[in-house]
Amino acid sequence: MLTILILMPFLCGLGVLLPLSKVFRLKLFLAVSLAHSLITVSFWRQMPIQEYHGFLVLDPLGLILLSIISFLFLSVSIFMVGYFQHEPRRNRVFMACLFFLLSTMTIVTVSYHFGLLWVAIEATTLFSAPLISFHRNQQSLQATWRYLLVCSVGIALALLGTFFLAIAAHDVHSLLLPVLLKGAASLSVNWMKLSIIFFIVGYGCKMGLAPTHSWKPEAYGQATGMVVVLMAGALTQCSFLALLRVAQICNKTGLTGFYSSILIVSGVLSLIVPAMFILGERNIKRAFAYSSVEHMGLLVLGLGLGAVGLFGALFHMINNALAKVIMFLTAGSVAQKYGSTSADQVRGVIHLYPLTGVFLIAALLAGTGMFPFGTFHSELLILNAMIISKQYLLVAISVVCLAIMFIGIGKIVLDIIHGQPKEPVLPKNENLFMNAAIAAAVVLLITIGLWMPSPLEKLLHDAVALVEGAT
């Protein structure tokens, strides 16, 4: 079953490289995303059996991420139907890369071998790079270049970390996760520490943690909204899964303290740095990119705090992904209507496009973690974990940074929504597909913000137990 899930998008990706019509590619993508989601939903009822001698296994952690990825691709594929009605550009390479991205991300969620995990994460970097320069101009090419370079170096360091882990595991002679966990006592502590540092730097670079976040505002500012949704919601969280896997080993080897202290430091940095840059920002996509750095910081903080914080972080993974759908799809829809996302050029959205204006407000509230959105709930859980562990300074810093982010993003969004349109833009009709995709995410995020379904709660608890090594 897992093999089908991986191969289906891959083969379709090869297929769309053939000269086909633009509409057919979109329909195929919609069909594949739908099939992928249906298979993923079936996994909620019954976990699939392991494949390839335990190299591909789906566990609760993987299932959380797989569901996120499935949902994001589905909503992007629906949005895309509307988007490409107004987009004259060819989509051959673009669509092929999207299919390959779906396939490689699926491998990330199910890989149980650290080498395979690295190969899959590197592949996601490579297939997402051509997506950034869809509108081929100087800025987007520079953004692509920076993304490729920073992430490749980061990922190369993670490879070094993987090899260090292999040396630490000299006695057990394998990099399969269950084997490592079983033989945790025989791992060499010094090499393990070295490998942890390289893992955090490497995968943290790919997550966009400060201070290696510099590619984020560039890449998110230049890529189309749909691509950014996949990058901010799924791609960065794939690297977070890698850090969760490392946490599993650390919890068995007694290196939890070492690991979590590094995580907390980088988490706090990722809260402070975007708060410093957000206030001068005029471009809404770049502002949302800084908000994404901040959310990654929260995830890492939650993981570092453990227990309630870990539960909050896992819940935040889902909320963050949904919030990113609302934020960047709305930004993408604004960009297509106005040809810009800068607050200096875009004005009076709510007068011309009332529905998009409402979505922008939803994006503001969801992105900054306000009631009744799910992000509010999970951010509260992470703050709660800080209070429980009596880290009051940390609480103060986080609250101040979150408040600054709210002010910064709020200012840009309100500028865009209100005000008089600079020149009379011809109002195009709102597109049904585009709005449906955003509305679904809004409804879902409010729902899980108010009420957590019991299967989701059970899955999150299972995942926490898995990371903490209780099972």
Binding site: G115, V119, E122, A123, L126, N137, L141, S152, V153, L160
Partner: protein
Amino acid sequence: MTSWVDASCIIIVFLSLIILSNYRVVAMIRVFAIQSLVLGLLPFFMHASCISSRDVLISLITLILKVALVPSILFWAIRHVSMRAEIKPIIGFGSSIVFGALIIAGAFWISLSLKLPGKPVSDLILPCSLSTVLLGFMIMVTRTRAVTQVLGYLIMENGIFLFAVSLFDVMPVLIEMGILLDIFVAVFIMAIVVNHINEEFEKSAESIIPKIGETF
């Protein structure tokens, strides 16, 4: 065969230094190809007594990808003459060498405190791979040309691979192939982006020149 392994390690570090001190991109790519050649032959030196099919496979793939394909892709990316020389690096060539030497010394010093478990084939593998990684990193940071930065990335990868060669049979062959393939695809995509960047900048340069001409 330990002496051969030692010699290869030292050659690999020296070749990285040569790339660091060079300013002609064509020469840099050639030196990189030689470095990859040495790296590709290393598995044979290491297990000279019993060469397994695994060694042959890995070195064959390394040779094909890194000695033949990657350099030719890079040559394709710089086929326009205008970008064949590195212009104004952030650190001059002379001081680069001094920094490079410091980096190598630092790498040897760090690896004194790290002990490889088991019986390593050669004591030089760890310090040499660390210094190659760091030198590659330095090339990447201090050079301004896109192609040179790709070369820095590749040298870094070579350093990591030098390290990986000493860890036989922990990684399954298939995954090692995956790693090599990923790096190859990375270079391929980077070369395409470099090519696009060149085209875009040439286009914009052309569009600016007539405008200036019109005003006069």
